[in-house]
Symmetry: C2
Subunit: 544 residues, 2 copies
């Protein structure tokens, strides 16, 4: 009997596209991830559906745009009944398992209205966004919130505190060993107060290997989502990563003075956010970026551990391996911190997929510049496991054809991303109504158009201006380009996959086969003679 197929889906948090060796970083060491790229396809134009954790992940986990799943912000519950990857995999007998972060908030009110106890099997499935939570850990654990298992682990290793996650793993040590608040940028250059082996990234890797070992006994195929917390802030790394990189390893900042002169109001408001003002400072960049790089190399080392583990168990031949991120990090580029807007630093993600089958040998080590969306992963996985992709629910497209041959000629011509800033101070600064804090990106591979409700659009030409310094949203010369991309957005907005209860096959059969007449509902038929002719026609067709 052939071994079961599996998917190992690794996600980093806040890892931007250009911070890997294989995507062009000149000094960052990621040999293991680079090796993965050589065994698979590296996608150079993969975009998230919203450049912030919660909504981006809900798009990954549902295979649907934000406007369809409705969870616009961290902590906005995903509505009960919204179908997830886990629902689709469950139908074909595949376990969908989580180790790490999802940022899922359960729709407790919706569950209550439907009488679903949150602690029941179905309740957990719903509350965990369709995952079987082998280890759920969202990676941010301020004091006073529910505690992760990782706290217990740290305690078992002797790291005692009310909040071991914060006190040990995510605080820095001053030269005299005293605790430095790891949330603060000024301490990003301090070393974490735990050694590497007890920090979050190796811990989660071990938990993934625990699962894989146990799953082998169980025998069913699995999709394991290993979802690391890092290099997301708190920017604190253990040794040797804390001192692995210095400011001389940093790539130059990507920003221009002209960006601050008469900027688009939304861009202007973001540049004025506290985290942007701080990250635009060179001293903040110099504190943060070497540590950000160290945290990435730590992940890379763990990829080495993980690949060796899979190889040792003979799982490389049957396991599709995906390496990606949920969005980027401006790191001071464009005078911005965090993510929020759609510059390449924020909306573009690394994406490497290793498809183990023979048909994929031709693409190994290649790069694909096809426009890819985060929502493509869910249909890719369903497709890989041999399931039928529910095209009336999923809004992405399976990447299998691109992994096994040239990009299909009818591949998408534009990629979309969305953002809702209702929960941010930017809304107050711009005095926008709550319902109208919406941004939409349409990118055709060259032109990046951003519709901002209530404001003029933004527009960047990545061919002549790859660094996105020139906003041409009010340039009359670009009117035709803006009109074209706006028409794409209009068409996209009018055609969501909203009828999730009714598959296309059912629709196709209906009009084709005069099912109404067969069912006895006779609409607007004149007389017995006409009715007999219609029934005769149906009978004739049935014989054909």
């Amino acid at each position: 009997m052939a071994r079961a197929k599996n998917v190992l889906w690794v996600m980093c948090d806040q890892l931007r596209y250009d911070y890997l060796g294989c995507t062009g970083h000149p000094t960052l060491k990621t040999p293991n991830i680079d090796a993965m790229a050589r065994r698979g396809v590296l996608f150079t134009k993969a975009y998230v559906q919203s450049p912030i954790c919660g909504p981006s992940r809900m798009s990954f986990y549902t295979g649907r745009y934000m406007r369809s799943h409705g969870s616009h912000w961290n902590g906005w519950p995903l509505r009960v009944g919204e179908p997830t990857l886990g629902d689709h995999l469950k139908k074909i007998g595949v376990r969908n398992v989580l180790v790490g972060k999802t940022h899922m908030a359960p729709d407790l009110e919706g569950m209550k209205a439907l009488g679903i106890p949150p602690e029941s099997v179905i309740g957990v499935h719903v509350a965990e966004c369709g995952f079987e939570p082998y280890e759920r850990d969202d990676g941010l654990h301020p004091t006073g919130r529910p505690r992760p298992k990782y706290d217990d682990y740290l305690r078992s290793q002797g790291f005692e505190a009310t909040n071991p996650w914060e006190h040990w793993a995510n605080s820095g040590a001053a030269d005299d060993g005293s605790l430095q608040n790891g949330w603060l940028l000024v301490h990003a250059d301090k070393t974490a107060r735990v050694p590497d082996e007890h920090s979050e990234t190796p811990y989660m890797t071990r938990r993934a290997m625990d699962f894989i070992s146990e799953a082998e006994i169980e025998g069913r195929p699995w999709c394991l989502h290993l979802s690391y917390i890092k290099p997301h802030w708190p920017y604190i790394a253990p040794e040797p990563y804390a001192s692995m990189y210095s400011t001389s390893d940093m790539i130059p900042v990507i920003r221009a003075d002209r960006e601050r002169q008469n900027p688009h109001p939304v861009f202007g408001a973001y540049m004025d956010m506290r985290y942007s003002r701080n990250m635009a400072r060179d001293d903040a960049r110099e504190k943060v970026i070497p540590t950000y790089m160290g945290l990435i190399t730590q992940i890379d080392d763990q990829m080495g551990v993980l690949m060796k583990f899979l190889e040792g168990r003979g799982l490389l031949d049957t396991t599709m391996i995906v390496f990606t991120s949920d969005h980027g990090d401006y790191l001071g580029d464009h005078w911005m911190g965090e993510k929020d807007l759609f510059h390449e630093q924020s909306a573009k993600i690394p994406l490497i997929i290793i498809d183990p089958v023979k048909e994929a040998d031709a693409t190994r080590g290649t790069r694909s510049d096809a426009l890819v969306e985060a929502i493509d992963l869910a249909p890719t996985f369903v497709d890989y496991f041999g399931g039928k992709v529910p095209g009336h629910i999923l809004e992405g497209r399976s990447l299998l054809p691109l992994l096994r041959g040239p990009t299909p000629p009818d591949w998408r011509k534009v990629a979309f991303s969305e953002y809702d800033y209702a929960m941010q101070d930017v809304r107050l600064k711009l005095n926008q109504p709550i319902e109208r804090c919406r941004l939409f990106m349409v990118f055709d591979g060259r032109w990046k158009y951003i519709h901002a409700s209530g404001f003029r659009p933004m527009l960047y030409d990545l061919e002549s201006d790859p660094e996105e310094f020139f906003d041409r949203g009010d340039d009359p010369e670009c009117a035709a380009i803006i009109a074209r991309l706006q028409a794409e957005l209009f068409d996209w907005a009018l055609h969501p996959n909203d009828h999730i209860t009714t598959p296309r096959e059912k629709i196709a059969n209906y009009a084709d086969n005069q099912l109404q007449v067969k069912g006895g509902i006779l609409i607007g038929i004149w007389d017995e003679k006409e009715l007999a002719a219609i029934k005769d026609g149906i009978a004739q067709r049935a014989k054909m």
Copy 2:
């Protein structure tokens, strides 16, 4: 103690706007409905959100546009978890009760995935679209489908048959008494084979009165949806209604030869549907329309019975009464049968609301030409019962202000309606992909713009062309009007109420109050000094 408030919400099926005395029909007798209009407000520009039963009703019952509830066609299940009027009323202790038709199809697959037994209390609530089904009867009962209670009633009155609904109530009698198939237009002038008292309209009225009597004992406030099947086809009326009107009572047909010359492809395909070709014939109109009129006067007589009943029980002072319809009927106008497109005969509905409170006295007997949508009823009812309208879920607006004073200055400037013809032969004729069979109406009170995916738009000027004979969708002179209404549609499409789990109040509080810092998540703060200043600012504001 004050008596509980109630809502009696009467809906007819396929009753078009201009087929009432109070809306201008010169020969049709509807004295009771006209009297209701004198006691309330008659809305002259009320539009359904889709001119066909299922999706129109799902919009009435959810207070949301079709693109939001996702049920585009008769029989497409409303997804589990889609909030209904019944859910909102339940929260404020109001019973939401059904007598008659809803056209709801339960999402059995979604219920199964969530472990909801369809026969449980919650299962029935979900399956019945948030209604307590005192008597569910969708009005179309071909042989071989589940049988309505009405069948048993007919049998108890001596009308025996395998299918008494069809065999007696909806079949005609020839002069020799022999049965004539009531589905066929050629028999629309025959008399139903049951007397008036045993036909569907009086039966449903009695069932409504049964409920009201029982509810008085129970004591809780109620919203009763009395949802008649008629004047929807089968066009068969009992005496005296069958012979009440003759062809001389018919208003002239509304159509022009120019409509058939080079029509918009979608309009052309609909004119070519069998039911349109048949209803465009004068002999069909002469068979159908007098009976359609008789069925309306039968409903009017039942309104008289019902109002007398409410008056006798002293319920008129506490009960909001609504009279409306789910869409119209072309009846051969514009060379069309059925509904399907957005001409006034199809998308516009009669809407009368009697608000019993004193504050509404000033508007009694008046007409409102404000643009009203079917989705306005759900928030109106929540508002009437004193509930807080969940504005992040409901997409309509409460009509209470319009019932109690002048139209608010910020009232909507355009009304929307949608249609999906994927289930119809029109899709095959036009060779459109299943996902792109979409029509969208935007009406500003004068100009009616129709976006047809894949085709040029249609446009009618109801000021210079109230009969909608001149499609100006390709008239270069109208380019600016088309651009304006298209921009309205674009804006509408980009801003659905999709985040149903997160109320606006929660959003408002968040950005305003720096909740993240309070929660211990410190994003992009430079150092201890800056953190202290932020915390100090929060503390200062809390004191204010």
